[in-house]
Amino acid sequence: MDNEFDERIIVKAINLTKVFNNSTKAVDNISFEVFKGEVFGLLGPNGAGKTTTIKMLTTVLRPTSGTAYINGYDIVKDASRVRRMISAVPQEFTADEDLTGYENLILTADLYGIPREISKKRAIELLELVGLKDAAKRKVETYSGGMRRRLEIACGLINRPVLLFLDEPTLGLDVQTRYAIWEYVKKIKEEFDMTIFLSTHYLEEADSLCSRIAIIDHGRIVKIGSPEELKRSLGGDLIEIKIDTSDIDLSEYIYSIPGVKEVKKIDSTYRIKASSGEEVAPLIFELIRTKGYTIQRVSISKPSLDEAYLEITGRRLREEQSSFEEIMSFRRTIRRTRA
């Protein structure tokens, strides 16, 4: 145990690096901290190094250099202690298809050495928590994608971890199911008062769940902050005003209003960036009206994380659905071969 360890910090990564086959730098010298009780998100496109980072933190992979401390324990030197405190829900469906949901939970509990009298009670509680009580005695092969994901999360809670890792918790799920999973994640967060470390390439997910986000790209952390901070770094809200003429240019007048940071005129429309859209907009309306023009259309938009991401990495996050489809079809092939 590190004596100078800050009690508020649960994960402290120091120069964490993973090089595959002596050449590919999957994770490149990253350092960050995760605070107790927060939902920390690792956001980035596929291949950015999210899963590799999680695999190192969950002691599955050994870092090439650097290390991390979880609750004060070194993930390399104290790996077995770390494993007892954490739980990892991988992006794949790892539950045994031939067993029931309940049996899967008991099996996971056995792997943690939890006595049966405790694990039986917990399994029932957890199945209820994730809304799988009625499906508890059904084989997992009959479960839908959302049910499987919930079961995976329940399995991840059986050892009462202080830190739960969720690797792409809603990968390949439809939008509705995704929202439902978010609700469950929020629910378990409250119920067990633990820290959640998740990775995702869905911006809405990071925005909706995380208290802090680290944007990772090419194995490096580009930016860390709360979703609001990341959005604010964009330079504020976007106000779009369309007036009745394009002949006159009001840009300079608008720019002189305090709070306005940028004005762009496109035909009769003005795109205005301002620190606080709601307060600045009335001032602009006033100005336009006193100049004798009529406002035809107005919109104020808060910057989305999508825009923040674009600004920070220079790229848009694509929804990479196809690769997941491939995995699923591969799974089906295997099931056929196996049977």
Binding site: T58, L61, R62, R84, E92, F93, G113, F165, R331, I334
Partner: protein
Amino acid sequence: MRSEESSIRIFHGLWALTNRELKKWYKEPVFLLLSLIQPVIWLGLFGKSMNIGAIFTEQSFNLPGLNIPKQVIDEISKYALLNSFGTTDYFSFLAIGMLAFVSVFTSITTGMSIVWDRRFGILDKLLSTPIPRGTIIISKVLNGIIRSLTQSAIALIIAILLGLDLTHFSLIGILETFSALFLMTIGLGSIFVMVAIRSTSWQSQMAVMNLLNLPLTFTSNAMFPIQFMPDWLQYVAKINPVSYAIDICRQALIGSTGFASMTFEYAYLSIFAFIFSFIGILLSWKALNK
């Protein structure tokens, strides 16, 4: 700290992991039925069609101009078979060989489940739990041993039903047989788990399986006695641990004369089992600690 400071009972986890895979096998009657097919084919079709005893009958010895008495042919037949196969019944000779072949085949396939586990992310999930790395590997080997020996036991019952020579049958003989098969599968299983843990795709693992399965059998005394093999093949056969396991089984079950003493053969198999399980488990463990 709210986490469970439960000490991990190694054997608890070991059994949980082993049973997880065995369950798939014994819970599905189809799997058990399918696993019966193979020994039936080998014993019933292959074993029965290779009717070597029939070579030494009046018809095949009906040489023009010679009138060999039936008694002479019978005596020649008896001694020829006894000298070559150590028993007068080729079916029994082959049946024991098949017993071991079934065991070899099953222990080769045990590695496959690791490839699935890795592919599906189950292995990573296990690696993040406090289960010791060694337990994960040993559970795979153990699973292979249990399945192999069960398959062999089924093969033995089928062989008996199909007319295995039971004149030398004894309980001790059965125990000797299965202890030999146990030693063989522990060594083979460990090697194949080690190979599988490093293999990246199930295709390559299948290729390895197919590449090793038949050569291991053909370079042993499973189908034909060692002393009639060409010299170079004799050397290979006398290194192949499968030969030793089969030879023990034959001596123990059908009372045939072996190519070496049972004590020596047990010693050889034990050393094989020890060295290969040590290497196999150590290298698998290293692979998991990447």
